[in-house]
């Protein structure tokens, strides 16, 4: 990569270089954060509480769900359990990054994990895997840039939520859209697709049966265990498990088949494509 001869050389200013890496993410957090702030305001939280939520929870999906559960007047225990299961995926993300934190102090791991998120995880995972000079401090900096942008979005949304009238049924769809996006990013092979279809049926069944958010949790436990069991059996009884149809990869448009993101099976937003194209441009 070549840098123009500015007065400040980004190569020698890690904070500036990292800001550049985090910028696409920060910019896309703003509008979603504003939508989230508007919903939390409609659910009865003032702007200080919204700011507090955005910092301590720092998860788009969880905050949207929190807003809708507050409006539904769900019991506190149900709110906790739903959010807990929603955030359980971070157990996977955190443990997959843990090998890079072997020499970090406990305090640093605490600080890092507290502001980990799907999207900044995707950036950090890519950087750890491709960039030898990527340090845990850089990774923490990326998280804090995205946190600042997310919290500002929430604050703006909360403040304009009282000033403008917005059709909430439209903003409410942002959550569903966000989850559909995440599902599409998750479906990498045929078995994940089957689990997704199975989950539609089982969540219908459990939601209408229990008439409670616990239905979501039961459905999640059941279908994730089925997926785990199927993969386990295929790996046990097949000679070449990765060549079986069920574990085979699903076709994706060509532009998305870029280097490292194929390996990770997590959300890989456009920032990575830009990063990758920058890396390739540098090679030319």
């Amino acid at each position: 990569m070549q840098h123009k001869a500015h007065q400040i050389d980004p190569e020698k200013q890690p904070w500036l270089e990292n800001l550049g890496i985090a910028m696409p993410l920060c910019l896309s957090y703003l509008p979603i954060g504003i939508a989230c702030g508007i919903l939390l305001h409609a659910a009865g939280m003032n702007f200080l509480l919204t700011l507090l939520v955005s910092i301590v929870v720092f998860s788009g999906g969880a905050q949207f769900i929190l807003a809708s559960l507050l409006v539904l007047d769900a019991p506190v225990s149900s709110i906790f359990m739903t959010l807990f299961f929603l955030e359980l995926r971070y157990a996977l993300l955190g443990s997959s990054l843990s090998k890079y934190f072997k020499h970090s102090s406990q305090r640093f791991v605490l600080l890092f994990s507290a502001s980990m998120n799907d999207e900044n995880y995707a950036i950090n995972y890519l950087k750890f895997a491709t960039d030898k000079n990527w340090t845990t401090r850089d990774a923490l900096m990326i998280e804090h840039y995205s946190l600042i942008s997310w919290a500002s979005g929430n604050l703006i949304g909360s403040l304009i939520g009282s000033a403008v009238s917005i059709d909430l049924t439209i903003v409410d769809f942002a959550l569903t859209a966000l989850f559909i996006y995440m599902i599409v990013m998750q479906i990498q092979n045929n078995i994940t697709f089957i689990i997704c279809l199975l989950s539609i049926i089982s969540s219908f069944f459990f939601l209408l049966l229990t008439k409670n958010t616990i239905g979501i949790i039961l459905s999640t436990l059941l279908t994730s265990l089925i997926g785990f069991a199927i993969e386990n059996r295929v790996r046990k009884y097949s000679k070449s498990p990765n060549k079986t149809w069920i574990l085979g990869k699903i076709h994706r448009p060509r532009m998305t088949k870029t280097t490292v993101e194929e390996m990770e099976g997590e959300n890989a937003p456009e920032e990575e494509q830009q990063l990758n194209s920058e890396i390739h441009d540098g090679d030319k």
Binding site: S28, I32, L88, S98, S165, L175, L222, S224, P253
Partner: protein, 139 residues
């Protein structure tokens, strides 16, 4: 005047017993729910290997969970009944299960996500379609 009526609508949405203390308790519990799955597994695995079964199981949690949440968002209402929507199109009365506008928008979001992999454009297209449907055919 607009502001006043807006506030009245909002006031009716918020259950009456929700006060500052209630919100602070909810925030504290949300913070715990967000913090526990992030910190403890990461802390635990920084100095020991990750068991294979844990990783294999966790791989299927996000897709199962997100699908259940989408089903709840589109097909199930606040009282946990199946949503039945009626749309009037070219003089025909159609009955659909689920919120019609959300269903159509969901397909658009999935297509945009598949082809662009961009979170921002997926969400914006989704909101745009819902808005467009509400102003044109009023679903």
């Amino acid at each position: 005047m607009v502001n006043l009526s807006n506030n009245l609508v909002l006031a009716s949405m918020v259950p009456s017993h929700h006060n500052l203390t209630y919100h602070l308790i909810v925030i504290l519990l949300s913070a715990l729910a967000a913090f526990i799955p992030r910190y403890f597994p990461m802390r635990f695995f920084t100095n020991r290997p990750i068991p294979e079964w844990f990783n294999e199981w966790m791989k299927y949690v996000p897709v199962s969970l997100f699908t259940a949440l989408v089903v709840k968002g589109i097909f199930v209402d606040g009282k946990y009944h199946l949503v039945i929507d009626h749309i009037h199109l070219f003089g025909n009365n159609l009955t659909v299960y689920g919120l019609a506008s959300y269903l159509i928008a969901a397909v658009c979001v999935a297509l945009v996500a598949y082809f662009t992999r961009s979170m921002l454009s997926s969400v914006i297209v989704g909101l745009g379609v819902v808005w467009l449907l509400s102003v044109t055919i009023g679903v």
